[in-house]
Symmetry: none
Subunit: 155 residues, 4 copies
């Protein structure tokens, strides 16, 4: 019960309507649309002087767009893609997945091979998952802030 409340609070705080388990996949964004999302995310990173790798997967889970900002860590390439894929596959924010692991309630998720690290968000339009964005390079909350800026450009 407490755990359910914790998740609900997290959802409310994050301002993100995560995909429920029964949510389905929609039609992929156009590359042009994805570029707008990337540009908004990069602008947020630049504004804060953060160096990010930003990855966007489409509605089929395939990589659509990836950009590594100057001086972003090389290791972030794989992590950013992994966050986008996890948000896509689980159809929810990777922060929720990270919290489930760190709270000790779902350590088993670590065995999924998925990147359960804050900074990945599903891109949802009309309750359909049309892709996902993953960001890596800063702290996890910085990464999430950059991803959120991308998500906001989806509207």
């Amino acid at each position: 019960m407490l755990k359910a409340m914790t998740l609900a609070v997290l959802l409310a705080l994050s301002g993100i309507a995560p995909a429920a388990a029964q949510q389905s996949y929609g039609t992929s964004l156009s590359l042009e649309h994805a570029k707008k999302i990337l540009a908004a995310a990069e602008a947020e990173a630049i504004k804060n002087n953060w160096q990010s790798v930003i990855a966007i997967v489409d509605a089929t889970g395939h990589l659509q767009l990836l950009s590594r900002m100057d001086n972003a860590p090389y290791g972030s390439i794989k992590i950013a893609i992994g966050k986008a894929e996890a948000a896509f596959n689980f159809r929810m924010s990777t922060k929720l997945l990270q919290d489930r692991v760190n709270s000790g309630t779902a350590m088993h998720l670590l065995s999924s091979g998925a990147t359960l690290i804050e900074g990945g968000l599903p891109l949802v339009v009309n309750s359909k998952v049309v892709g996902a964005i993953g960001v890596s390079g800063g702290t996890t909350s910085q990464d999430a802030q950059v991803a959120k800026a991308g998500l906001d450009a989806l509207q």
Copy 2:
């Protein structure tokens, strides 16, 4: 001792007779038999309006049958296979493995690379492991319910 009891209780609650560690492998089911198991599992998912990926491995651990229901998450393909393989390799329900990890008694299992997530069951005939079924796509308890429906068709 306590751990053994805990497992025994879990077994009783789950109504599943898991393969004991000393259990051996038997003869693979025929594809025809595996299809009946798959059909029963899919019927359970359909009845509940769940979208599942269902994977069955044979008595040698090799993939025998896999079906992805319309709109099931793409990420569930790998997870369903992983659950079936884990249930096969450990010769027990993946829920037991998940519980060992989440209870903190066997975190080391995470280093195995196995998918320690509820929803995988060994298929046991006359105390011989003749295969395993793994399900992914819903919550872990939904996945387990679908797998159990498949197991029941084994009888």
Copy 3:
């Protein structure tokens, strides 16, 4: 010139309209539809007393259905999936790819990591690639015959 003619002849002989480079992906088949294709392919294998692994990927390239007939080689699991993926990714019959390699005109294709072995066919509806089928277990021409039977059920 001769090479171009050879390909044209192959196309004519195979009775398959291969996807041109500009062909695009369509909407995935339903699982129900994919099962009919699988059933037709398996019936062809059974009729000839062949043991096949048959894999079907959907319009996004993800595995949708896989079945390994009794006594089919375990190594055919990976190969059947690989053939389906290659036919999907290249949007043409894997026999055409195999011929290009064996004729010595395109040895470089071997570096693609794709499974360039006869027995994989794109599933095409209204000039859109809606998936692909890959078969392994027999000789390459047997595998192609089984795959073709599946393709014919698409109509």
Copy 4:
């Protein structure tokens, strides 16, 4: 000697000044610069109504930028990255590598795991390799034309 001459002829015919084996790596392009290269390559693809995946690696061989145009094959993601990496690692056009394989003079290159397929070019500034571009989605000559348009924007 003959092989070296053959390469020289190929170079002359292709109009590309490939990095010689003794060439060294320079300083990575800025992301801004890489985006100009990508834009020029995409413009070439759009002009010809081709759908390409375009990947750019920096002077350390790490992925810097990737874009998949609408309706480009999913399989081209891996191939485009592979072409860029091969052009970077071998410090020469992947067409040269492809020709070495198809001419039968260097079949052993297939054992490298590298993507030896036309459509990858090193990005060279003042005789230093500062990155590489890889393109996939069309025929190999189309891919090469798109990559060349990107390279030209480097000047």
